[in-house]
Symmetry: C2
Subunit: 432 residues, 2 copies
């Protein structure tokens, strides 16, 4: 079940497929009365073992609750049930000129994305789930149903009471089951172009990123891929890019603002010894390029059949990116890991190191664990976080304590304790 | 003390002026041990009676903790102590090319702005405090000190544990005392112009707003003022604008994108029978215009010496703006209120009705209370909120229950109870 090798598979004892919020509530009451763990399942694309039933219990598979309940084009918002996926919503919106831009690559459920506080390639422009959820319907451990901003509310801003919406966003199923989400929508930009630019070294690509941000250029996407990632993409997606550290860029806006932006960024690239832009102007080319980027996990896995991947997810203030990437590469070399790929949403200071290992080789697994931890600890030293977008899940609970500090963790646990006193909601995730 | 007439003044028994977080923590421990109310004071510009010591107790005046602790221009962030005000920060930043755009008009403390989840005229472009706080240092009721995102962390995004930052943003001093905030900064736009446009009726101005948003024009500010507000502004700020429902607009960006935006908006205005733009292009003119907008509370008060103001603060989905403004005007006329002014951050669906009344005339006060409540209830009917940016404070506690629902309020109270079991933090605010 689990895509990643770090978490051994723990299937639940029962899988339920509720059809509506009342059924979810009934399941919660039953489990709570009997102190049985409850594990919400969105679409299973999470990367930190979040859906593993480490203490057994009942999986609440939300895929059947997949209705798009309302779209208000004039207000730029919509409301969906928990099983609706990102692509399902965007297909549905096709004729409205609107879209939901948060894009973790995988076709995740939107409420799963709420749960992990997901982001992805568009966050540099549109923010993460934290900034794009207006309201949530949540079933609590004891079966109570709340609407975090009040039933039916969907205003762009509010100062009414505690921000429960953002308490549940990022709570990874440990505080309640999200059964409905009201989300912001955006107009599809008038014009879009993408481009790829190659650099002689990592430093050039990362320096360019930092400079683009510092110039305040409203770039839509800026993604880094190292040379091994490019090689994997070439092979898997049948492309012939130069095997070198590269940036995948996207510009959106009105045609003239787009030319302005692209010219500025092209200048910065060439100042850092980048190649000329290789443009992807028409929709097919662009979607081929971004599909290739999003398929990178599978592209890497294809290089080492039988292996499984693990991805780090550190995020640092952007000025620290050059240093942490350099030092991470050094650590990886020192540890003697063979198969590692670096890529990232560098516009947010977020990057991933993808490792491939044979799950049956405990030594290899241990080395990857150790290097991943080391990279996360370097991030913490640099005012960073151990997870920019994947969440804590099972694997980063110890790092979370280092990151937040004992007292902050106490406060989080007090909140958990008061909303889920019997500890049935996705136990052994986020905290020990 | 209180600017507004709805809340009778309740001074605290003691005012403390802590110099550092350790002293704040000591005060909290003393108060908690002795079950004495603690009322945080930022700069006293709040509009919902938040600093009133309704149950007596100790005011923690944070104005002495006014150090700007760090500015990281390359990362677009800064960290300030609780007493630092918005203007102090922006003056300090002047030579960096950066600014903190959230602007409630008043020179509020930045941590006070965190506490009320403030926004103001720039929110349509930059969001509210919810979207712009990276980390908070908070002293809890029992004196424990936490950093909501972990000490020193200042990444653009994170998925690490519960979002405590946004639990304290908007908590109005009822969960803890914010002693430090790390905030996002933005580059000052390359070019800026402002303009005023007058309309024959309210509908034209509001329809234009809705259309500007629907066209996805990245406008920086779009503020509505009705004819009586314009009249007050003319008199107070020595201007000679046409006395008619008006929009104050601001465009920012590169010079060419700015021309593009302005042309589009001018078209929409004239389609709705708006006048030609009256431009404010140079910095002095622009700042005169916006100062006039921000001084409106005082402009209105000057029209009726001896009166005190009260402001509603509803926010609805933008498509509902025309209807709620129309119906609010009807209610006001029906109630026979003489002195009322309508203005608002219409780009967010947020607008204020400002009432003037003689605080010693109980009948007048009661009428204003009733109409304000009626307007808030209409907003709730239209998927809106009773407060877009001012907070609940003392006056909207009953409305909060209507807005969130009993179960949601229970959850908020559970959180309050677990973090402040003795109920010492700003009692009788937000909840009964
Ligand atoms: C190829 C690939 C690329 C990816 N790239 C990115 C990326 O760029 N950015 C990014 O942020 N993520 C990325 N991810 C990770 C993943 O897509 C996100 O974590 C996503 O948010 C998970 O959503 P899901 O519906 O699959 O949740 P699941 O995997 O089903 O669950 C994830 C966690 O949320 C909980 N949960 C799920 N649904 C609910 C609910 N309705 N209520 C309460 N709790 C719930 C689960 O219990 C679990 O703890 C990637 C994954 C893959 C496979
Ligand atoms: C003329 C005028 C125009 C205004 N326009 C706007 C506007 O456009 N948009 C808008 O959002 N607001 C507006 N306001 C309201 C006001 O400026 C905001 O509410 C502001 O956020 C209050 O900040 P403050 O520092 O003055 O807080 P205070 O008034 O001192 O306190 C407000 C509340 O927050 C709590 N608090 C203050 N500091 C802290 C702290 N450090 N830790 C914990 N709790 C604390 C207090 O206990 C109180 O409950 C306006 C006010 C005036 C007078």
């Amino acid at each position: 079940m689990s895509l990643l090798f770090l978490f051994s598979c723990c299937p639940p004892e029962v899988v339920t497929f509720p059809q509506n919020v009342e059924q979810v509530s009934e399941i919660a009451i039953l489990c709570n009365d009997n102190e049985i763990p409850l594990i919400p399942f969105g679409s299973g694309t999470g990367l930190e073992g979040g859906i593993n039933a480490v203490k057994g219990g009942v999986c609440v598979d939300l895929t059947h609750m997949n209705e798009i309940l309302s779209v208000n084009p004039e207000d730029f918002d919509c409301t969906v049930q928990s099983g609706v996926t990102r692509m399902q919503l965007n297909n549905y919106l096709r004729d409205t000129g609107l879209w939901f831009p948060i894009d973790p690559g995988a076709d995740a459920s939107l409420c799963g994305m709420c749960s992990t506080s997901a982001s992805g390639t568009n966050a540099v422009r549109y923010g993460t789930m934290r900034e794009n959820v207006l309201n949530l319907e949540v079933v609590l451990a004891d079966g109570r149903v709340i609407n975090t901003a009040g039933k039916g509310r969907r205003t762009k801003k509010t100062s009414a009471g505690y921000n429960l919406t953002n308490l549940f966003v990022g709570s990874e199923g440990t505080l309640g089951i999200i059964t409905k989400a009201s989300l912001k929508l955006f107009g599809i930009p008038e014009a879009t172009v993408s481009a790829v630019c190659h650099f002689p070294d990592v430093q050039g690509a990362v320096d360019t990123t930092v400079q683009v941000l510092q110039c305040g250029i409203p770039i839509a996407r800026i993604e880094f891929l190292d040379e091994v990632s490019i090689d994997a993409v070439n092979k898997y997606s049948k492309m012939d890019m130069k095997v070198a550290p590269s940036l995948f860029l996207e510009f959106t806006g009105t045609p003239s603002s787009l030319d302005e932006q692209a010219a500025l960024v092209a200048d910065l690239c060439s100042m850092n010894n980048g190649s000329d832009f290789k443009w992807a102007k028409d929709p097919e080319e662009r979607s081929h390029l971004w599909k290739a980027r999003h398929d990178i996990l599978y592209a890497c896995m294809a290089l080492k059949p039988g292996s499984k991947p693990y991805s780090t997810d550190v995020c640092v203030p952007v000025s620290k990116l050059p240093e942490i990437i350099k030092r991470s590469k050094e650590e990886i070399t020192k540890a003697g890991v063979c198969d590692s790929f670096m890529l990232g949403h560098v516009g947010d200071g977020n990057f991933h190191t993808l490792f491939l290992a044979d799950p049956n080789n405990p030594e290899e697994v241990q080395i990857v664990k150790d290097v991943s931890n080391k990279i996360a600890e370097m991030s913490l030293e640099m005012n960073g976080t151990c997870t920019g977008e994947h969440g804590i899940g099972q694997g980063k609970r110890e790092l979370l304590v280092q990151e937040i500090g004992e007292t902050g963790i106490q406060v989080m646990k007090q909140i958990k304790q008061t909303l889920d006193p019997k500890g049935i909601m996705n136990p052994a995730k986020v905290f020990y």
